[in-house]
């Protein structure tokens, strides 16, 4: 028997329609932006709304990415994810208020430094909380969706209530650091500085995540684990450890999202996480559970649509996202970029 292959290697041709099917979700964002322009008419209002929609989308993406990965990797659905948003916001804003002198100084450097410190504190606390949450709340109910949903909802309630115990039941109002207040004017459109910062942070994070997923071994393990965890273990990788790492990172990202959302709204409440989770769930469902790219596109669509509709017909803003979800599920019942699960 010979070793040399007697067959000719051929590449299975991907039909054009399939390639298009993969690309369409990516096209939805520019299409929505153009439809928005047509519906709004006024280019400067449109630009303001677009930036604001992108900022909102980026923040939702930051929160959603961890949730969708945790699901993809271990089939764990964490309804308590919202608690990390609230805790992150309260920790971060506490730091911001404690360093009021730096936040109030008209120096961009000091202002960014205080925001950075707030973010770091929030991420450390929520990351640690995520570690504990995984051990105490999630670990005992692996593989049982019904119990997972019930228990993580319980965890959400308890953490929200503890926030009220620690920080008091009232919402906290505050203002952004000095140099992040106000707006630029660009082609007649007012672009809030903070929103541009939020877009930059979100984009940077997305690019960084893509690099990790494409270029590092741990990223490859996570991607492979989402697809076929059993095989990753059979190769010799301890998926449960990878999962804890992802859970902690996802919780820390939710904390980051919480600080950013708090700075965006300039008010924080214990239930802000729970309220944001509704948008986050919509995003992970339309993106395809387990898909980070899907969550990114979904978050931008939700952010943009919410802002456009809020301008055109304020009362329909939240309902518009339900409509978007309905439309996308009619088109693709598994979401835009469903993760191909082995078996």
């Amino acid at each position: 028997m010979t070793i040399a292959p007697t067959h000719k290697p051929t590449f299975a041709d991907i039909p054009l329609s399939e390639r298009l099917a993969k690309a369409t979700p990516l096209l939805l964002v520019p299409v929505l932006v153009l439809v928005g322009l047509a519906a709004i008419g006024n280019p400067s209002s449109w630009l303001t709304l677009t930036v604001s929609g992108l900022a909102m989308g980026m923040m939702i993406f930051i929160i959603a990415s961890g949730l969708t990965l945790v699901f993809g990797l271990m089939d764990v659905i964490n309804f308590g994810h919202g608690a990390f948003i609230s805790v992150g916001a309260f920790v971060g804003i506490s730091v911001l208020l404690a360093l009021g002198g730096w936040a109030g100084a008209p120096s961009l450097l000091l202002n960014l430094l205080v925001v950075l410190l707030a973010v770091i504190a929030a991420m450390i606390v929520t990351g640690g909380l995520g570690w504990a949450f995984e051990k105490v709340i999630v670990r005992p109910v692996y593989g049982a969706h019904l119990k997972q949903i019930l228990v993580t909802v319980g965890g959400l309630i308890v953490i929200e209530q503890l926030i009220a115990v620690v920080w008091g039941p009232e919402e906290i109002f505050f203002s952004r650091p000095e140099t992040l207040k106000g707006a630029f004017t660009f082609w007649g459109a007012a672009l809030e500085k903070y929103r541009i910062l939020a877009v930059a942070v979100g984009l940077g994070l997305f690019v960084a995540m893509r690099l990790v997923f494409r270029r590092t071994k741990i990223g490859l393990i996570v991607r492979a684990g989402v697809e076929n965890g059993e095989m990753v273990e059979a190769l010799g990788y301890r998926l449960s450890r990878v999962f804890i790492g992802v859970f902690i990172a996802g919780s820390a990202l939710a904390g980051l999202g919480g600080v950013m959302w708090g700075l965006y709204q300039e008010v924080i409440t214990a239930s802000m996480g729970e309220e944001l989770m509704i948008l986050v769930f919509i995003v992970v469902i339309i993106g395809g559970l387990g898909s980070v790219e899907g969550a990114f596109i979904g978050a931008l669509l939700v952010g943009l649509l919410q802002n456009y509709v809020a301008f055109l017909e304020p009362k329909l803003a939240l309902v518009s996202n339900i409509a978007l979800m309905t439309a996308i599920l009619m088109w693709r019942p598994q979401g835009m970029l469903p993760v191909v699960k082995a078996k």
Partner: protein, 350 residues
């Protein structure tokens, strides 16, 4: 005859039988045993929540689906009665129309949600119901022209069901329209509960249980799993709506806080889990304990909070507003340690 009324689903535990009988007698004779406005209020609330929780159990316990939209369906029934009473004028026809339309709307909405989510995977349902229910709650509070917004709606119901209608005295208790209203609520709740008991013990209910145990296997035997789950969802939604209608008839008021809030959704979850999922009788026990605790325990917490005034943190933890904190902890512990709830415990300890 009695066994037939219970659809052959006996409590299967002496202690459970006694407790259920005690609750039944207490509720049946509530106006005479516990006279007073507050206790009648509590008794009616227990009746209505037994139906609401049992209808949720039909979904969670018998079908294994988690929904966060049960209050939405409850609210649909309540607003149905309110809107019908306002627009058709005071009358029984308005109550009936509102109830029927509310139940139909709930079933229809449940059908649409189920078609979108159950077709893919059951956990979609939990997330989608959460999103839709919150959107509806926002919508109801925004569309104040129709729904009264945050303030809710007050309306008139037939005079025979209000305190203004007096009948005389019986066993030293003044019988008025409110007592008649209570018996309307009581008998309607009893009937609905027995009806649900019938459903879960019918061939249909047995298929649901088979799906809950192993949906893959049920599918391979040839049952259309999605279809069965969808029907269960619609049935559960319609029953919740009727419970909402009863609530609206009893209160003569509807508002987002009393019918649509996420807090009530959590209450329902807790009642089901504490009572015992997938047992129906768990709904009776869970609702009774919970409503009693809610009405009387918060007072106790307030007292405890004041008594511990000097100690740091404890007063905040015991503040009546932190009632939900303890419920949450209780909830997590019950899911871990008493997954079969009180009914499961009583049956096991027979």
């Amino acid at each position: 005859m009695l066994v037939k009324l219970l659809s052959g689903d006996k409590p299967r535990s002496l202690a459970l039988t006694l407790i259920l009988l005690a609750i039944l007698v207490a509720l049946a004779l509530a106006p005479f045993l516990f006279p007073g406005v507050r206790s009648l209020e509590t008794a009616a609330r227990i009746c209505i929540f037994i139906v609401l929780v049992a209808s949720y159990d039909l979904l969670l316990g018998y079908t294994g689906i988690v929904s966060f939209a049960h209050t939405m369906f409850f609210g649909l029934g309540a607003y149905g009665v309110a809107l019908a009473s306002i627009h058709m004028g005071r009358g029984y026809d308005a109550l009936l129309t509102g109830t029927v339309l509310g139940a139909l709307a709930a079933a229809l909405l449940a059908l649409v949600i189920a078609m979108f989510s159950l077709r893919v995977r059951a956990i979609f349902f939990a997330m989608i119901t959460l999103a839709v229910a919150s959107a509806v709650a926002v919508l109801v509070s925004q569309m104040s022209g129709l729904t009264g917004g945050e303030d809710g709606l007050n309306y008139m119901i037939p005079r025979e069901l209000t305190p203004a209608f007096r009948l005389g005295e019986l066993f030293g208790v003044r019988i008025n329209g409110k007592v008649l209203n209570y018996y309307l609520v009581f008998f309607a709740s009893l009937g609905l509960f027995l009806l649900m008991l019938r459903v879960v013990n019918s061939p249909f209910g047995r298929v649901l249980k088979a799906i809950r145990e192993n949906d893959f296997r049920a599918e391979s035997i040839g049952y259309n799993v999605v279809w069965y789950r969808t029907i269960a969802t619609c049935l559960s939604a319609a029953t919740a709506a009727v419970a909402g209608s009863l609530f609206a008839i009893w209160l003569r008021y509807v508002g987002p806080d009393t019918t649509l809030s996420f807090e009530i959704m959590l209450d329902i979850l807790l009642m089901v889990v504490i009572g015992g999922m997938g047992t129906m009788y768990g709904a009776v026990i869970g609702a009774t304990i919970f409503v009693l605790a809610q009405n009387y325990l918060q007072t106790l917490m307030g007292a405890a909070s004041e008594a511990t005034g000097g100690i740091p943190l404890l007063p905040q933890l015991l503040d009546p507003d932190r009632w939900l904190l303890w419920l949450g902890i209780l909830f997590i512990l019950s899911v871990y340690f008493f997954p079969t709830g009180i009914v499961g415990r009583l049956r096991a300890g027979r």
